[in-house]
Structure formats: C-alpha cells, structure tokens
Amino acid sequence: MRSRKRLNRRGKIAVSVLFIVLIVLISGLFGDNQKKLAKEKDNQAENTMAVIPFSVEPLVAFTDSTLSRSIIESTNEKSEVTRKKEYAKQNKIDQKENAIYLTFDDGPTNVTDELLDILSDYHMNATFFMVGPNIKQYPEVVKRMHEEGFGLALHGMTHDVYKIYRNETAPLEEMLENQEILSEVTGMSTEVIRLPYGSIPYLTEGMRYMLAQYNFKIWDWNVDSLDWKLNNKSYVQHTIQEIEEMKQKGLTPVILLHDRQETVKHLPKLLSYLKEQGYKTKILTNDSPPLTFPCEGRCRPVK
C-alpha cells in the first residue's frame, strides 16, 4: 500500500500563494465589470434623466377679450330693452297718479334735518342719494329718514370722477361699500344708486354690466334743477319750467336737487308749486324700473 504524500513546507507556501492570487484575480475581474458598468451608467444617466419642460406663459384675462366685451354688450342691450318697457309701463301708472320724484344728492349734511322738516310740513316725499362718509357722519338724520318713510339710496363713497371710474370694478366697489354703511346704520338694504355727475359719459358698458350683476338700479334724471350752478332762488323757476316741459311730453319728472343750504332755503317755493299742481311725490324703491341714460355709443373711460 502506497503511503499518502504530505506537502512539505515549501509546498504549503506555494499553495497558499496560488490561492490568494486566485482570489485577487477573481475580485479584480469583478471590479473591472463594475467600472465598465459605471461608465455605461454615466452615459445612460445623461440620456434618460431629462429635465422637464414647462411653460409659465399666462393666459390673457377674460375680461380683456373680444368675447367678454361682446357678452357685456349683448347682455346690456337685452337689459336696456327690458328696462325701457318696464319704465314705460311705470310711467303710465305715474301719469295717472300725477306723480313726481324729488331726489336730493350728496347728503346727508348739516341742513338735512331742516330739509326733512320742510318736506314733512308739505306732506311730501323724496329720495336721498347719499355718500358713504356722510352717512357715517350724520347717522341720526339717516335713521330719521328711514323712520319717516323717505327714500334712501346710494351715491358712492368718493364723489370723485377719477376715483369712482378709475377701473371697471371701481363703481361696483364704491356702491357695495356705501350699501354696507347704510345697512349698518338703518338695517335696510337698497339697490337704488346714482353715479356722481350721472351715468354719462363715464359709466362704461363694462361698469354697467358689473353693477347689474349685483342688481343695482342706476338712476339718472330728466329734470336738472341746476341748483348747484344757479345757487339762488332762480333754480326754482328753472325747475318749474322743466317740469312743465316733461308734463307736455307725457313723462313723469325725476328732479335732480342737492342737499345743500341754498337749495333748502328756497325749497318751500318749489314745493308750493307742486302742491298747487296736485303732484303726488313718490319715492324710488328697489322695484322701481330706473330712468337711466343709455350709452348709445357715448360712454368712454375717464382719462
């Protein structure tokens, strides 16, 4: 039987070295593969990890568009047809009653109490188009108006053409604020409004549309007393002449007056005339179809 040969010392060292070299070689190959893959990876990453494109260009505002303007014009046209019909209907009723509408703008003031006293003495009614800050300044007289059955209406906040017409939403914003103030003082809400200096020429179609969306009724007038201009008793005679012209035309007078000292001073003379003629003074309400100056191409933004 052959005896098993054993490795001598040199043999053992040789085998160990071979073993180590083998391990190192295998690891080296593996590392090479990793390097190659890493390089491939670099290329792949550049090709597939793309940044995302995205445009932030804004859309044009809808209100600035042709479509928006045509919608506004079309809506306003239809509203105007309706308004004229209803106003004509109301006018017939008013004519039968010999009605007349007295309106006082820009109050309340320090003479409003006196004005109310005069109207009460003559058993006559009127509608007051009031400015927000003035309502805050004279809340008691406004409460008195409400309690005694006078017409309460809105005239904005600033009475400044460059403020109230500064952009398309400005008239609406002023009237909403004015409405809020009046409601806080009296507990009542009104949709009856008059723009400072009237709706022509600065109340544009867009502004009218916005006000209509909130059910505001835009009131102008057909008799201008010119009390603000004449500033003396001559406004009374002028007003009487205008009233008679309206009567001849079969139209119910809506008179523009102002809550101011000189007007109040000579008011009894005007009221006496109205009494003699048997006029019935009525107030404007949310249900009254308004007398509004139509644009008919005359409206333009304030410069």
Binding site: I23, V56, E57, A61, S68, S74, M210, Q213
Partner: protein, 211 residues
Amino acid sequence: MIAFSFILNGCQSSSKQVTKIEKVMDKATELEKEFSTTQLELLETRENARLLYYDLINLTISDKDLLHQKIEDGKTYVTKQQQLLDQAEESFNKAYNTSSKIEKSIKKMKDDAQKNEATKLLTVMKERKILMDTFFKDYHETLQLQKTFYQQLEDEKIDIGSLNQQILEINMRTQEMGKIIEEFNQYTRQYIEAEQDFYRASESDEPNYDA
C-alpha cells in the same frame, strides 16, 4: 489566509449591494423615461389648449356655431391633458417606488463612502417625489378650473367676473407649477451627479489594475 478570505468576502458583500442598487436604478430610470415622454406630450397638448383659448376669446357671442365648436375642443383638450397627467403620475410613481427599494440595500452596505453616496441618491429621489406630488395636485386642480370654465360657457351661465376669476386662478397656479418644476429639475441634475458620485465611490475600493 482564512482571515484574508473573510476580508475579501466583506468586499464582495458591498459589491453585491452595489450591484443590487444598480439593477434597481436601471429599472427606475427606464420607468422615468416613460414619465419624461408623457411630460413632453403634456406640454404639447397644453400649448394647443392655450392657442385654442386665444381663438375662443377672439370670437363674439354671435359666432354661435364656431363658439360651440371651440368650447367642445377646449373640453377635449382638458380630457386629453387629464389622461396624460394620470399616465405621467402612474409612471413617475412606479419609478419612484422602484427606486426607493435601494433603501434596504443601503442599510446592508458596509463601506461608509458608498453608503453615504447611496443615501444622497435616496434623499434626492425623495425630494423629487415630494415636488412632483405637489405638481400633480396643482395640475389636477388647474384642469378642474378649465373644465368649469368651458362648462359655464357651454351652459351659457355667463358671469364675466366668475370666468375671469377662473383664468386668474389658472394663471396663479401655472406660476406655482413653474416654480415647482424648476426646483424639480434642479434635483434631477443633483440626482445625476449623485449617481455618478455613487459609482465613483463604488469603484474606489477595487484594486487599481491600471497602475
């Protein structure tokens, strides 16, 4: 000799994790390709929708037939964007869910340098995910606004103020989405760098046979 074998075995273990991470990232990258492609389609559709909006608002209310057609086209673009957005969301989430699996491998890594680089990768991926989730949410809301806009026009429930407000909101969200994408793209660039750093770290503990 045995001890030396064990040391070499430790190295092999880190290499094993690197290999695993590689495979996962390969797959995730492939899925992100789909996401990128869909985003390009979304960009194109969005641009077409924008041009259509300009055509629409240049009509007048009396152009009834043309108006109706544009409204229908507008609604179609909204639907198309919705579909593409859902697709993009799905492929991005798949890519992210795949790539987040590297977290397990990172925990098993013994080499600190490799582990740090891999952790950076993971962190950047998470940031991208947060941003993209916000982007998708905003985009969905924007599409809802567009849908409402066209529906109101179609129903002739025309409130100029309301229609305009929707456009203003869409514009506001567009700006926000733009910022998100800008940030996302920065993270994408960081991701590319982090990936390269990771592979460099993976190479550095191998014997240098080029010397």
